[in-house]
């Protein structure tokens, strides 16, 4: 099997986030900002909860149904935005979109090395929406605030 291409997509770190997602779960309280978003073309779903302190993301949790790429990306996104301000989180999302378009981006700005592993998704056009779902959900929830 020609796994050369595949290995650029399914990097070890992605599979690690897929199998051991960070920040997975739900908050018990009722005052978190929440959003449920799906990818209507494939049925992937994400349920995202944010706890803000002023304009800083104090804590974030997610649950979801989806492929390895969408769930790994969600896991990484929650790690990346925790402790960041809303505007920093939004800037990161834009950076992520640029990365999916194959643009050269400064990986250091994510402050999370793991995200680089998702760069390979840009070579699989059919899978880009999987990777961006959690980020779009995050944008939607913080913009509503």
């Amino acid at each position: 099997m020609s796994n050369v291409n595949l290995d650029t997509l399914y990097r070890q770190v992605i599979m690690d986030h897929y199998k051991h997602p960070r920040n997975k779960g739900k908050f018990e309280d009722n005052d978190s900002l929440t959003i449920e978003m799906n990818n209507p073309t494939c049925g992937d779903r994400i349920f995202l909860q944010f706890q803000l302190d002023g304009d800083t993301v104090e804590d974030v949790k997610f649950t979801g149904d989806g492929c390895s790429i969408s769930l790994a990306s969600a896991s990484m996104m929650t790690q990346a935005v925790k402790g960041k301000t809303i505007s920093e989180a939004l800037a990161m999302s834009e950076l992520f979109s640029d990365m999916m378009l194959g643009k050269d981006v400064d990986m250091d700005e994510f402050g999370l090395e793991d995200i680089e592993a998702l760069q390979g998704v840009s070579n699989f056009p059919a899978r880009i929406k999987c990777a961006t779902l959690a980020w779009k959900a995050m944008e939607r929830v913080v913009e509503e605030e």
């Binding site: 020609s2 599979m15 049925g43 699989f124 899978r127």
Partner: protein, 405 residues
Amino acid sequence: MDIQSVREAFPILNQDVNGHPLVYLDSSATSQKPVAVIEAIDEYYRLHNSNVHRGVHTLGSRATDLYEGAREKVRHFINANSTKEIIFNRGTTTAINIVAQSYGLANVKAGDEIVITQMEHHSNIIPWQQVAKRTGATLKYIPLQPDGSVNLEDARATITSNTKIVAIAHVSNVLGTVNPVKEITKIAHENNAVILIDGAQAVPHMKVDVQDINCDFYAFSGHKMLAPTGIGALYGKEALLKEMEPVEFGGEMIDFVELHDSTWKELPWKFEGGTPIIAGAVGLGAAIDFLTEIGMDKIYQYEKKLVKYALEQMRTIDEITIFGPEERAGLVTFNLEGVHSHDLSTVLDTEGIAIRAGHHCAQPLMKWLGVTSTARASMYLYNNEDDIDRLVAGLKKTKEYFGDV
């Protein structure tokens, strides 16, 4: 059926994808096109292109003859009584919407019922949801058996004297279930309801006789039966179509136009507003010729054998779950334990194998199956056992790959 010469008629199959010979197992989404269809469209544009039903010139007559000739081919193919009963349109979705908006809104009232099943494609759910919402009618579902089939007792219990419309798939695009449409038509008629059959997954693969079924409406798409995208047909009984109002108004469909009122052309043209899909119809005609030459019964038997082989081979993989009844049309919907269908589809794609992953435009059915997505391998007359062997090898490798990483 000489499978080798059939395959040679489809140039697209003769290519490598991601370094491997293409295995195309996504014909339920759309079929590939034989040279005969591609050439018929090419020839139409090179030699005959013109608008229909108006030009006095020679090309206009030729285009009209070709367009109306295609209608006669469709009539003969599904054994309609008259070409007045064959309305060309964009495909199954458009056809169902015509019936929903024209017949549905005019005949369904508050308190009435519309009956469908839980295995329907979104295109045979949403138009009826809309009719129910606008009229105050109730949308009811015939429940499914555990294996994904419909039984007639359930149909009898769900369809009542309040039912005005029954709409059901002939063949499920997810489960491959072949529904007993003739019997369900009888039940609908005993309750004075009309019945529409979504034949998108049936007409390409089996002999369909609308007079034998005795259904009131039958909808299907060209692109799933070797014809180009953007052409399809609605069959309707003449007496019903005659009473129905058009849903699109404009050129081509009028008789007399005055300042404040107009009258419509006769059937079928009153439902074909605007310049029609002429080249598409020509392509559909060529596709019907191609299928007829091979024979629909032969195609059905061939696919039945192939899907049986596929089921046997796929079941050699322990981690596989296959959905749908044993007796089925040529498709297999499944999941591989521990691997999401998108990941599965991506891995197969790197092996040159094209399958569908996702909800297959049937979210209520996914819910019934208790899954959010599935993978589907769907076959047509150009697939062979090698394709199935490649699929099974690909599935085994996928399992290994995701086991390792």
